[in-house]
């Protein structure tokens, strides 16, 4: 058993460093950008009552429902 652990541990850690962490960082950055844009659209006075602000609410709500359920 320990042989399997010692041979596979470096591969797993390398995969974590090469793929898992960059994937998390990129997803987080994209999510932050989307959230920032959505928030700015929602508080903007120029597009206050436009279809774009209502659409952003639907998009945000849809993402929340998809992510948490």
């Amino acid at each position: 058993m320990w042989e399997i652990v010692t041979t596979s541990l470096p591969q797993l850690i390398m995969a974590g460093i090469k793929y898992t962490i960059p994937l998390s960082l990129i997803s987080f950055a994209l999510g932050l950008m989307l959230a920032l844009i959505t928030a700015l659209v929602r508080i903007s006075k120029r597009v206050k009552n436009s279809k774009l602000s209502k659409g952003s609410l639907i998009f945000t709500f849809g993402y929340f429902v998809q992510h948490h359920y």
């Binding site: 541990l9 797993l12 994937l23 987080f28 999510g31 932050l32």
Partner: protein, 112 residues
């Protein structure tokens, strides 16, 4: 942020950028760091779902190794431990980030 913060800053002659940099952003960072850090830690765990679309991340590598040596329990336990260590390290980082983000607060706030 209450509008009064902006008004108070402008009343003492601060520009918009100074207000943002010295008053608004420190408070906003203090409020937003805990949920953002929690989201990031959840995201690290959720990256294992990328294995379903054959992205060769840590969980997919463990599945491949388990398929080679027929020891799925050991491999998945190992991956779970690695995820636990990652998330623990991120939690420690979150703790220090929160501590750093509210260093500007008066230590007597909320106390005697």
């Amino acid at each position: 942020m209450p509008q009064g913060q902006w008004e108070a800053a402008s009343s003492i002659g601060m520009t918009r950028s100074q207000t943002l940099r010295r008053i608004i952003l420190p408070q906003a960072i203090y409020i937003s760091v805990p949920p953002l850090a929690n989201s990031f830690i959840s995201l690290v765990k959720d990256t294992s779902l990328a294995a379903t679309i054959t992205i060769v991340e840590m969980f997919e590598v463990s599945q491949q190794i388990a398929a080679e040596n027929y020891q799925p329990l050991i491999m998945y336990t190992l991956v779970a431990l690695i995820y636990a260590v990652f998330c623990s390290l991120l939690t420690i980082g979150q703790h220090y980030l929160e501590k750093h983000s509210h260093r500007h607060l008066n230590k007597t706030v909320g106390g005697a």
